[in-house]
């Protein structure tokens, strides 16, 4: 019984991966955690580590591929934005050792700020994409993906979504394979993207497209199933096929079905279902990527139904009911939720240090008008909710510092940034350098809880380094202060923050106390170890 994420991790180990790189992000985190906890990683035969961000992770994986070994890099969909420069160019360099990029999308935004579909990135970079429909396929596709990557010397994207990542099912394993040994590319200029070389490499990538499509026809992950009623053909991508099958208890769909699991699209199979059916229904988990391709801008062909014509809502993840309604079946929704039931949004844990940081900040800001606090991605984003109402933005990793800078440049003073320790390492340092270079009037609050808390308490690359980093990039040491975010220091903390808000320059305030979750966990471990045997 493995989570989809764990199936991917186990498959990478069994495929002889030598390095797994990632920055934690729901729903991708458990892949790297599983590899890190494996015997192979603990014994040091697999290098598995948290990187500073998705871009550095992508680049490390590319370096391992350059050296001839198999590498995997894992991230959530918005991490693809951070890694995009390295990712897109890795398609031009091509791979040497097998290279798989796992992008875990989050339709319905369970734990994310958008629901972008990573298949656009794969298509944009012009590389093959694999999209499993279940945990077993996730496992099989990693094994296949490494073979494909090495055979066609290309990075391969594995695109999954939350439901597959965080759902368990039985998975059959294959015998393990040894790791590759170091073997540099036969052409030592392959990875130098100087214009003269890049033009050649790009032509190579373009010429590989026919091979990629041929592999999609023969890879076995795209399947056409005949059905008697040709008034409609159904194309599913990824896990959508499960929701289709759920609506036919005998698993016999009366319409022809093309199940897509590998891209570029298998041209002959798409041609077959299009020409043999009067209309098409597209079931895609995510954006209407395939639907848009088949429909075309002018939509002059056969009727194509899906997310673009409103048969299915444009946004949100699929489920069996949405598919049932799209098929014209009855909605089986049971009793309504009683009016007594109210929403229960997530909240900061009892005793969380962020609570006391926000209490102090809110009071320190009381003398000014509201709307001055730019925040970031992490547990502390929950400061947006009652009773704190403490923040005014959450956009992308690192945006707190730079948005505060822009607002300050516009004349909003004081302007405050609130960012976590791990997010600061991920993408905050460069913004702080911009602030120092412009001597911007910003107060940067780095909430240091010594972990990456939201994703479950992974190590933070910031621990023990924050003051040195801030000084190193040029923040005046007199305006780098630390606080203890506990109720008994409230007055003192509030006064210290107010003093920095009054300062016309870059100041950094570091409320520092360990995350209550990891502190409790560490205490348990310590007690266990202290117990006499």
């Amino acid at each position: 019984m493995l989570l989809g994420d764990e199936a991917i991790a186990q498959a990478a180990i069994d495929a002889g991966v030598s390095g797994v790189y990632a920055y934690p992000g729901t729903p991708s985190t458990e892949i790297t955690e599983f590899v890190k906890n494996s015997k192979e990683a603990r014994e040091g035969t697999i290098h598995a580590s948290w990187a500073a961000n998705e871009k550095t992770a992508m680049e490390a994986a590319l370096g391992m591929s350059y050296a001839g070994k198999r590498a995997m890099v894992c991230m959530k969909h918005v991490g693809m934005n951070v890694a995009a420069d390295a990712f897109v160019n890795s398609a031009i360099t091509g791979a040497n050792g097998g290279l798989i990029v796992v992008a875990a999308d989050d339709p319905s935004m369970h734990s994310s700020q958008n629901e972008q579909d990573s298949r656009f990135y794969g298509k944009f970079a012009m590389i093959p994409i694999l999209e499993p429909s279940n945990q077993q396929e996730a496992y099989d596709m990693v094994l296949y993906g490494f073979e494909l990557s090495e055979k066609l010397a290309t990075p391969v994207m594995l695109r999954i979504t939350t439901r597959l990542a965080h759902s368990r099912s039985g998975v059959l394993r294959m015998p393990g394979r040894d790791q590759n040994s170091v073997k540099l590319p036969s052409n030592l200029k392959q990875f130098i993207l100087l214009p003269a070389i890049a033009r050649k490499q790009y032509k190579t990538l373009v010429s590989k497209q026919a091979d990629f499509t041929a592999m999609s026809e023969t890879g076995g992950f795209n399947k056409f199933t005949e059905g008697p009623d040709h008034s409609m053909g159904i194309i599913t991508t990824g896990i959508a096929v499960n929701y289709l099958m759920e609506n036919f208890p005998d698993r016999k769909v009366p319409f022809p079905v093309l199940k897509i699991g590998q891209y570029p699209l298998p041209k002959s199979l798409v041609e077959k279902i299009y020409s043999e059916c009067d209309s098409l229904l597209l079931l895609e988990e995510g954006n209407p990527v395939v639907e848009e391709m088949l429909r075309g801008y002018l939509n002059h062909g056969k009727p194509i139904h899906g997310r673009l014509d409103g048969t299915i809502s444009f946004d949100g993840e699929l489920n069996p009911n949405i598919v049932a309604v799209a098929l014209g079946q009855a909605d089986t929704r049971g009793r309504n939720i009683p009016a007594t039931v109210v929403g229960r949004p997530p909240s900061l844990c009892k005793g969380c240090p962020h609570i006391y940081s926000y209490n102090a900040l809110n009071q320190a800001l009381e003398t000014w008008s509201k709307g001055r606090v730019f925040s970031d991605i992490g547990c502390y984003t929950l400061g947006a909710l009652e009773p704190f109402n403490a923040i005014n933005s959450c956009v992308d990793m690192g945006a707190s510092i730079t948005m505060a800078k822009g607002a300050s440049d516009a004349g909003l003073n004081p302007a405050v940034a609130v960012i976590g320790d791990s997010t600061f390492i991920h993408s905050g340092i460069t913004g702080l350098i911009d602030c120092v270079n412009d001597n911007s009037s910003v107060t940067v609050i780095i909430l240091d809880n010594a972990t990456t808390a939201m994703t479950g308490g992974q190590d933070s690359a910031a621990t023990g380094k924050i003051e040195n980093i801030c000084q190193g990039v040029g923040v005046d040491p007199e305006h780098i202060i630390t606080l203890n975010p506990s109720p008994k220091y409230h007055e003192e903390n509030m006064a210290a923050i107010r003093k920095e808000l009054d300062y016309k320059g870059v100041s950094v305030v570091i409320p520092r106390r360990e995350c209550i979750q990891t502190a409790t966990r560490n205490l348990k471990v310590a007690r266990k170890e202290a117990k006499p045997q």
Partner: protein, 194 residues
């Protein structure tokens, strides 16, 4: 045979321990299983649920369709009602009545209890209280599992085996406390429906 189960609770209440026990017992009984979990932001005190699907044939969807759940098992009273659109017409609700109040606008208890009582098939018990009386306040989830056991269509011995495996590494005392909690829940439910 199929059993579609929605496990409900609040992030941090540990509904996955119930899922793990049922899952283990189902696999031991040679059944197919799919289990969708909630990870990430909601785990911070938000409402969480898990879709657990058990069947003697291959299961297609990770998610239970509306109106098809045979059981809602909830460790918190308000959360037991949040998933009613998924419950089948003759489905059972097994719920703890000990509220977990971490929001300012938590409904009045008598209104919640009236909603729960209006469900045709339900078992409502104070699992925290029962567990505390057994001297193991932390076993409330196993009380709930016991109360649900009658409706799982999994042999009782397989469920007990699963509890033994689940808590085995914590020692014999903990195993027995949890088996006791399971029995207490089972006895409550048996008395309730007879």
């Amino acid at each position: 045979m199929k059993r579609d189960i929605i496990l409900a609770g609040v992030g941090g209440q540990g509904i996955l321990s119930i899922a793990a026990a049922i899952g283990m017992a189902a696999l031991d009984s040679g059944l197919y299983l799919k289990q969708a979990e909630v990870h990430g932001m909601s785990q911070r005190g938000g409402d969480v649920s898990s879709n657990l699907r058990i069947a003697d044939h291959e299961i297609a969807s990770d998610l239970i369709p509306y109106g098809q759940a045979d059981l809602i098992i909830s460790v918190e009273p308000m959360e037991s009602l949040r998933y009613l659109p998924y419950l089948s017409a003759d489905g059972w609700v097994i719920t703890n009545i000990k509220p977990f109040i971490n929001i300012g606008n938590y409904p009045e208890m008598d209104k919640l209890m009236a909603d729960i009582s209006s469900l045709k098939k339900h078992i409502a018990l104070d699992a925290d209280d029962i567990a505390r009386n057994l001297g193991s306040a932390r076993s409330a989830n196993m009380v709930i599992l016991g109360a649900a056991a009658l409706f799982l269509e999994i042999p009782a011995e397989k469920l007990r085996d699963a509890i033994r495996k689940l808590f085995g590494r914590k020692g014999e005392d903990i195993v027995n406390l949890n088996l006791g909690a399971y029995d207490a829940g089972l006895n409550f439910a048996t008395a309730q429906i007879s």
